[in-house]
C-alpha cells in the first residue's frame, strides 16, 4: 500500500518542465481525495432501519436478505445497497377530499377533489362519494420490485373498484342503506386486485366518509326526507285523533248501557214491590172484605176531607139548591 502511494507521489511530482504557476501540493490533493473516498465508502457500510420498517439489501442488484430494525453493516455501496420499507406503519390514502390540517378538529378540502368523488350509480344517477383506504405493506419484496409506483397503482385501483361497486347500486342504496355493504365489497375486491397485481399490500380497511348527492340536487333529496317526515306526521295526527275519540265513545256507550240496566233493575224491583204489597193487602182483604173496604174508604175520606179547602154540606132533601149557591167563596168548616 505504502509503495503504491509512493509511486503515485513520484508520478505526480516526477519530471521537470515548466515550473508550476500554482503551487498545488500533489500529496495533499491525493490524501484529501483518498480520505474522502474512504470516508464515503465507510459511511455506506452502515445503515439504520427504523422500528416500523424492514431493510432489504441488494447485492449487485440482486435481492440478498431482509434485515430487522436497528443498526446494520453491509458491504460498501456499489456492491450492496439497502432499501427500507415501512411494513409496520399503517398507511392511509384519501379519496374525494384532502385533510388540510389534521388535529382534534381536522379541516378538509373537497371542491378540488370532485373529479375523484363524483361518480355514476347503477340507476344512472350521480353521487359524491368520499372514502379512505387503510393498508400496510405485507410483502416488502413485492412492494419494491414487482410494480412501479405501487402507491399510485393502489390509488388507481381504489378509484376503479369503488366506481364499479357504486355502479352496481341505486343512488338510494349509496346514500342510505348500502354504505356498510359497499365498503365491505370494495375491501374484498381491492384486496383481490392487490394480490393479482402482486402489490404486496394488505388492505386493512376501507371506510366510506361523506356520501352525498351532488350539490345542485341536494335540496330535492332533503325534500324527500321532509316529505317522509310529513307523511309520518300526518298519520300520527290522524291516529292521535282516533285514539282520543274512540276510547271515550266506548266509555260513554258503556255508561249508557249501564244506566239502562240500572233503570231496568229499578223498574222491575218497584213492580215487584208494588205487586207484593198488593198481594199482601189482598190476602188480608179476603179475610174480611166488607169491613176492610169500609175502613179503607173512611180512612181515605178522612184524609181527603181534611185537606179540602171549602166544603158545603147539603141535606139530600135540598138537592135543588145547587143552582143558588155562591160558589167560589170559602164555605163553613
Amino acid at each position: 500500500m505504502k509503495d503504491q502511494l509512493q509511486s503515485i507521489y513520484e508520478l505526480l511530482e516526477g519530471g521537470g518542465g515548466k515550473p508550476p504557476e500554482i503551487k498545488i501540493p500533489g500529496r495533499l490533493i491525493v490524501t484529501v481525495v483518498l480520505a474522502l473516498v474512504l470516508v464515503s465508502v465507510g459511511w455506506s457500510c452502515f445503515y439504520t432501519v427504523e422500528p416500523e420498517e424492514v431493510g432489504v439489501v441488494l447485492r449487485f442488484g440482486e435481492y440478498n436478505r431482509e434485515t430487522p430494525p436497528g443498526l446494520h453493516l453491509k458491504m460498501p455501496t456499489p456492491i450492496e445497497r439497502a432499501l427500507k420499507v415501512p411494513v409496520q406503519r399503517q398507511l392511509k390514502m384519501e379519496f374525494g377530499f384532502r385533510t388540510v390540517s389534521a388535529g382534534v378538529r381536522s379541516q378538509y378540502e373537497r371542491k378540488s377533489m370532485l373529479g375523484q368523488s363524483l361518480m355514476l350509480t347503477g340507476d344512472l344517477n350521480v353521487a359524491v362519494v368520499e372514502w379512505i383506504a387503510q393498508f400496510r405493506v405485507r410483502d416488502s419484496y413485492k412492494y419494491l420490485f414487482k410494480v412501479r409506483n405501487p402507491r399510485a397503482t393502489l390509488g388507481v385501483l381504489n378509484e376503479a373498484v369503488m366506481r364499479q361497486v357504486i355502479g352496481d347500486r341505486t343512488v338510494n342504496e349509496v346514500l342510505t342503506v348500502g354504505r356498510q355493504a359497499i365498503a365491505a365489497e370494495v375491501e374484498v375486491r381491492l384486496q383481490a386486485l392487490c394480490d393479482q397485481y402482486d402489490l404486496g399490500i394488505k388492505i386493512e380497511q376501507v371506510v366510506l366518509q361523506d356520501v352525498n348527492p351532488p350539490d345542485p340536487v341536494k335540496p330535492s333529496f332533503n325534500e324527500v326526507n321532509q316529505a317522509q317526515q310529513e307523511k309520518e306526521r300526518l298519520i300520527n295526527e290522524a291516529l292521535t285523533a282516533y285514539n282520543k275519540v274512540i276510547p271515550r265513545a266506548r266509555g260513554e256507550a258503556l255508561q249508557l248501557v249501564q244506566e239502562a240496566e240500572g233503570y231496568a233493575t229499578d223498574r222491575v224491583n218497584r213492580a215487584e214491590g208494588d205487586a207484593a204489597a198488593f198481594k199482601a193487602v189482598l190476602a188480608a182483604w179476603k179475610k174480611a172484605p166488607k169491613v176492610t173496604r169500609k175502613r179503607i174508604y173512611l180512612e181515605t175520606m178522612e184524609q181527603v176531607y181534611s185537606k179540602l179547602g171549602s166544603k158545603q154540606i147539603i141535606d139530600d132533601d135540598l138537592a135543588g139548591v145547587l143552582p143558588l149557591l155562591q160558589l167560589g167563596k170559602g164555605g163553613a168548616r
Partner: protein
Amino acid sequence: MNVSQRILIGVLMLSIVAVSGSPCYIIDETESAVVTQFGKPVGVAVTDPGLKFKVPFVQKVNRFEKRFLEWDGEPNQIPTRDKRFIWVDTTARWRISDPLLFFQRLRDERGAQSRLDDILDGATRNTIAKHNLLQLVRSSNRTAETSTETGGNQDKLTKIEAGRDELAAEVLAAGVAGSADLGIEILDFRFKRINYVEEVRKEVYTRMISERNRIAEQYRSEGHGEAARIAGEQERELKIISSEAYRTATEIKGKADAAAADIYADAYNRDPEVYAFLKTMELYRTSFDENTEAILQTDGEFLRFFDDPG
C-alpha cells in the same frame, strides 16, 4: 507534465471508462437489459439481477423496466350505443415481457406508451360504441335493497346482459391481440372513471331533481291518504259504538218495562175490582187539596150519620 495536467488526464480517462469502458455492470431486481454492439443487439436479454460482464467500449447496456408498468388513457368523450356521450378515463397494467423484441419494435417506454395509446384508446372506443351506457356502469344483476316499506317508489336496477367486467375484458382482449408482436404483455385493463359530460350532467341533475320531487309527492299523498283512511275509520267506529249502545240500552229498558208490566198484571189480575177500589182511594188522597171546593150530600157513606145517628 505537471500535476494539474496529470489530474486532468486522469479525470478524462475515468470518464471515458465510466461511459462505456467498464467491463461490468449491475442489473437490479427491477431491471432487465439488452446489450448492444454498435446498435445491434447481442445475445439474449438479461433478466436476472446481479453483476454482469460485457466488452468495454464496444458494447452498451440498454436497460428496461421489469416491473409492472402503468398506462393511463387520455380521458375522452366517447359515445355509447344509445348515443350518450360520456367521459371515460381508463387505466391498464402492462410489462415488458420480451426485452429484445421490445427493443427492436418500440425502442423505449415512450414509444410503448404511444403505441398503447393507439391500441387501447381505439379498442375502448370500439367497445363502448357497441354497448349501452348502463352496461358500462353496471357489473351484475343484483337486486337493489330498499330502505323503507314503501317499495314502490324506490329506484330499481334494470337487468343487463353484459356488464363492466365483460366490457373491460373485451378491451383487454383487443389490446392483447394488438400488442402481440411488440414484446409487451397487457395484464389488466380497467375503467377508472366514467362521468357525464358537463351539459349532460345538467340534464341528469334536472332529471334527478324531478325524480326526487315525484318521490316526495308520493310520500305526501300517501300520508294524506292514510290519514283520511284513519279519519274515516274513526267515523265508522264511532257510529257503530253509539248505535250499538243505543240498541242495547233500549232493549234492556224495553225488556224491563215488559217484565214490570207482567208483574203488575199478574198481581192485579187476581182481583181487578179490589185493585180498582184501592187505586181510586189512592187517587182521592192525592188529587184533592185546599184549592178544591166540594159540595157534599148527606146521603153519602161518609156523611150518612150526619143527620141521623141511626
